[in-house]
């Protein structure tokens, strides 16, 4: 999947599950610091993305992720690996 495509999925899900505005879901923002999302909601959101995109996002790979852009980097890497494995 293209990065822009993944961002769109992430943004739609964030609006649906996290009570945030689509315009606030920007790559330089942090879900926790800027959008005030609590840790439990963020974990449920991550699990929903795993289901939607058919990937796994282990906690240990997200420890250093501070911004939505960094989160996107990890997801894009996973979807690329998943489609390579499929093909």
């Amino acid at each position: 999947m293209e990065r822009a495509e993944v961002l769109q999925v992430l943004r739609d899900k964030a609006v649906e599950m996290l009570e945030v505005e689509a315009d606030d879901v920007q790559e330089d923002k942090s879900f926790v610091e800027d959008l005030k999302v609590d840790s439990l909601s963020l974990v449920e959101f991550t699990m929903e993305l795993e289901d939607t995109l058919g990937i796994e996002l282990p906690e240990e790979e997200l420890v250093d992720v501070k911004t939505i852009g960094a989160f996107l980097d990890v997801i894009v890497g996973k979807t690329a690996a998943a489609s390579n494995a499929d093909g």
Partner: protein, 266 residues
């Protein structure tokens, strides 16, 4: 807030306006702040056609005030005593809690039954159970639950084994205050998350049991559509309960009122 402060001889306005996360992590302070915020929100609401009220753990006291069973003042004194009793029990026997995502109530109960010092403490939503117990018990149960297929085990920032048998000392202390309180008949039904039935005459008994019994929140929510509930309104900070409603009752209208700007959406 000044009234509440006079009643408790402490600075309630400070607690709501200035206290930081560390100060609020102490359960006694967190409970007072949550109760006061929730009642402030309730008082600012326009009249609603209320079918039933319910509260998660501490929130059951707020629900009883909303239903007129307890006066706000009586509720405040009980919340203060409840928080102090739980804090004392937690200081004497430190505990921990963790949210377990991705396993059913039954599997979590089965795994905990085979371990020391860990119990299911909240059934919050489908595949969302909170366990509670000793620090070692919860850590060991967390690993066992991962092994049993849990997708995530998330430690919660609390220091006590709330809603487990380890809270028995808190019950004896709270019962003194519960016996001294006055209870009026409810204006609207109040669901108990201990029994998943409406509160009857023994309000004090259920509020005591609550400290050592699991919070059956998912089951409470599942009764709502059958009672004609068309919308769930969460009072107070966080928005966590609104999320649990969405997960448990897909399609139910739900909103969380934590601040004055949320009122415009009602």
């Amino acid at each position: 807030m000044d009234q509440a402060g006079d009643l408790l001889d402490r600075d309630c306005a400070h607690l709501l306006l200035n206290a930081d996360a560390d100060e609020l992590r102490a359960t006694a302070q967190a409970q007072l702040a949550t109760y006061l915020m929730s009642l402030l929100v309730w008082r600012s609401l326009p009249p609603l056609d209320v079918v039933v009220v319910a509260g998660h753990s501490l929130g059951e006291l707020t629900a009883l005030v909303v239903a007129g069973v307890l006066t706000p003042e009586a509720g405040l004194l009980l919340v203060a005593e409840r928080g102090a009793a739980m804090q004392q029990a937690a200081d004497a026997a430190p505990g921990a809690m963790a949210a377990v995502l991705g396993l059913s109530d039954e599997v979590v109960a089965e795994v905990c039954a085979g371990m020391d010092g860990a119990w299911p403490a909240n059934s919050n939503a489908p595949s969302h159970v909170v366990i509670s117990g000793t620090v070692d018990g919860v850590a060991a149960a967390g690993l066992a639950l991962r092994g049993a297929g849990a997708r995530r085990v998330l430690p919660l920032p609390v220091g006590g084994a709330f809603h487990t048998p380890l809270m028995a000392p808190a019950r004896s202390r709270l019962e003194v205050a519960l016996r001294a309180a006055a209870y009026a008949p409810p204006r609207v039904p109040v669901l108990s998350a201990v029994t998943v039935r409406d509160h009857g005459p023994d309000v004090a008994g259920l509020l005591s049991q609550q400290l050592t019994a699991p919070v059956r929140w998912r089951e409470v929510l599942e009764t709502l559509p059958g009672r004609g509930v068309e919308r769930v309104v969460e009072l107070g900070p966080g928005g966590v309960l609104a999320g649990l409603v969405k997960r448990t009752l897909p399609g139910m209208a739900v909103m969380s009122v934590a601040a004055p700007e949320d009122l415009a959406r009602l």
